[in-house]
């Protein structure tokens, strides 16, 4: 199986670069290669100018990695001790490591838990600690693989703000972020690459990507259908995707872009003729998700409407 094919991406120093793609798209393989965890079978990859295969030790000295949902550290250690321990693995002297651990504990809002054992932290607290861990070595390049997975909304927002601040304040610091949250990528990233089935389908700034699919209206309908999914006929040139079923109302979202010149009423009439009940209609500005759907053909967690 080919996990990545012909990927050619250059990420500049000081950039926050997002990688968007559905499960199995090749995002983790991409990060594993760049973090020296996996040999590429062909081609080459460089981080801060160092080849990930030949100069792996030089690469490792300069990078940090956070994977969402990981449970690093030993439960028997306190949060503070755990951060110190990881700093030691990067050769940071204790006189620097302890104050830095305290500083990062404040950043992730774990002051009250600083002296608590890790096995007594909640999942979200542990994830915040993992986030702090990636910064103890003050890396040049930070790989954030779904970093806010399992975090509450406020904590995730604070950490996004910190990442943006960190890149702004420290010259030459670079972040590669993979996320399922489109808003996260939109808020944080200077550029985004959309990846699917091992190939980069688009790579640009979010405004530039939005311009690719601008024109017309982005429509989201809440509909009731008889079966789980239907082979709907909308209009030629209209590509729709199903959203997840609503847990309470028994409806599903149907998302599509209505090209300029087409009328929404015609789509609604066609749906009615196919025994599809439309509960609500909303239209909005182009989002990164619309771009993603337009390029990949489905949303991150959506299924494609068969044509």
């Amino acid at each position: 199986m080919v996990a990545l094919a012909g990927v050619d991406v250059r990420i500049e120093r000081g950039e926050i670069f997002g990688l968007l793609g559905p499960n199995g798209a090749g995002k983790t393989t991409f990060i594993k290669i760049l973090t020296t965890l996996l040999f590429p079978t062909s081609g080459e990859a460089r981080v801060v100018g160092f080849d990930v295969v030949r100069d792996s030790q030089e690469v490792r000295r300069r990078i940090g990695l956070v994977s969402g949902g990981e449970s690093s550290g030993y439960g028997i250690l306190t949060v503070r001790e755990c951060l110190w321990m990881f700093a030691q693995y990067y050769g940071v002297p204790s006189r620097i490591a302890w104050p830095r651990a305290d500083e990062l504990i404040a950043v992730v809002g774990l002051e009250e838990q600083a002296h608590s054992r890790i096995n007594r932290l909640s999942t979200g607290q542990r994830q915040r600690m993992n986030f702090a861990r990636a910064f103890v070595s003050d890396p040049e390049v930070l790989f954030l693989d779904e970093p806010t997975l399992g975090m509450d909304v406020n904590a995730a927002r604070k950490l996004r703000e910190y990442v943006a601040h960190w890149v702004r304040e420290r010259e030459g610091r670079t972040v590669l972020l993979t996320t399922h949250y489109m808003a996260e990528a939109e808020q944080l990233c200077d550029r985004v690459a959309i990846i699917d089935r091992g190939q980069v389908l688009a790579c640009d700034s979010t405004p530039a990507l939005r311009r690719q699919v601008q024109g017309g209206q982005h429509v989201e309908l809440e509909v009731r259908v008889a079966g789980p999914e239907l082979d709907l006929v909308l209009l030629s040139g209209v590509h729709a995707v199903w959203g997840a079923p609503h847990p309470d109302r028994g409806t599903r979202a149907l998302k599509f872009r209505l090209p300029p010149g087409e009328v929404l009423g015609e789509v609604l009439r066609r749906l009615e003729s196919q025994q599809v009940q439309v509960d609500s209609v909303s239209t909005r500005e182009t989002t990164l998700e619309d771009v993603f759907i337009a390029i990949v053909g489905r949303g991150l967690e959506d299924t494609e409407v068969p044509s």
Binding site: T29, K32, T35, T36, L37, L38, F39, Q57, R60, R61, I63, L65, S67, E70, S71, S72, G73, Y74, I76, L77, E81, W84, M85, F86, Q88, Y89, Y90, G91, P93, S94, R117, S137
Partner: protein
């Protein structure tokens, strides 16, 4: 990198990993019971048995020493051998492979931490054997005992380093094999009886794990001829030193092989793969 920086980094990392072991030993009361108090119970049984049978007093000392050293074997088997496997399950191994830390520093930290923590725990066995049960030994050469102990531990924990890579490579099967071997190794190492009792095969058995030669040599230092030693202390110590070197080289090669496999196949470092 400046000269000596690599060594400083190695020592820092090893200390940090050993710190986990040391701190862990005293923060979990259940571990104190299972690791420090329960292992010497078997030793007490052997001492009382030898006493009831009217065996020479040297047999009692022999059983006490065996009981104390059994704690180290348990630590090597479960604290070293299984460790990388658990690290993988926790997702920790990936973080080691991503960091610039020497993998040998991690193993060294695990070994030193485990050794120190077990040494402290073994004080319970010493207190029980030589204190509560009143087992006595004649005057002995403390320096020689310390030397033989250190060399034995080097060989034993270097074996533990190899086991940790083997456990990770073969996953649960190796874990089961090791589980099945725990008691036989006690037997093969002559923990509660003189290894010489097993005859010529004792040499081969003792060579399988360094514990046998270590126990035998330490007994000879403590009890002299009464220990019924397998070979002269100097010979056994030299063999142990040789085994330590071989095992350390083996551990380094096994770890490098493991990391190469992990990078080629991408399945060893992450818990779900």
């Amino acid at each position: 990198m400046r000269p000596g920086e690599g060594l400083v980094h190695f020592l820092r990392a090893a200390y940090a990993r050993a710190y986990v072991r040391m701190v862990g030993s005293f923060r979990e009361p259940v571990w104190l019971i299972t690791d420090a108090i329960l292992p010497p119970v078997g030793m007490c049984a052997f001492v009382l048995l030898y006493r009831a049978l009217g065996a020479p007093p040297s047999f009692e000392a022999l059983a006490v020493l065996g009981g104390i050293l059994s704690a180290f074997w348990i630590n090597v088997l479960w604290g070293m051998g299984t460790q990388l496997y658990w690290e993988k399950q926790q997702g920790q191994l990936q973080l080691y492979f991503v960091s610039p830390v020497s993998r040998m520093a991690i193993l060294t930290g695990m070994a030193v931490g485990g050794m120190l923590a077990t040494t402290i725990r073994s004080l319970v066995g010493i207190a029980l054997g030589f204190g509560l049960l009143g087992v006595r030994v004649p005057a002995f050469d403390v320096g020689m005992l310390a030397l033989v102990f250190v060399v034995s531990m080097l060989a034993l924990y270097a074996l533990g380093m190899i086991l940790s890579s083997a456990f990770l490579l073969f996953g649960r099967e190796a874990w089961h094999v090791s589980n099945a071997l725990q008691e036989p190794v006690y037997f093969m190492s002559g923990l509660y009886f003189p290894l010489r009792t097993l005859g010529a095969s004792a040499w081969a058995l003792a060579g399988i794990v360094p514990l046998g030669f270590g126990v035998d040599a330490m007994r000879q230092v403590l009890l002299g001829k009464d220990a019924r030693g397998l070979a002269p202390v100097e010979v056994e110590t030299a063999i142990l030193a040789g085994l330590a070197v071989i095992f350390l080289i083996g551990a380094r090669l096994a770890l490098a092989h493991l990391e190469r496999l992990s990078k080629q196949e991408g399945r060893l470092a992450q818990r779900w793969q």
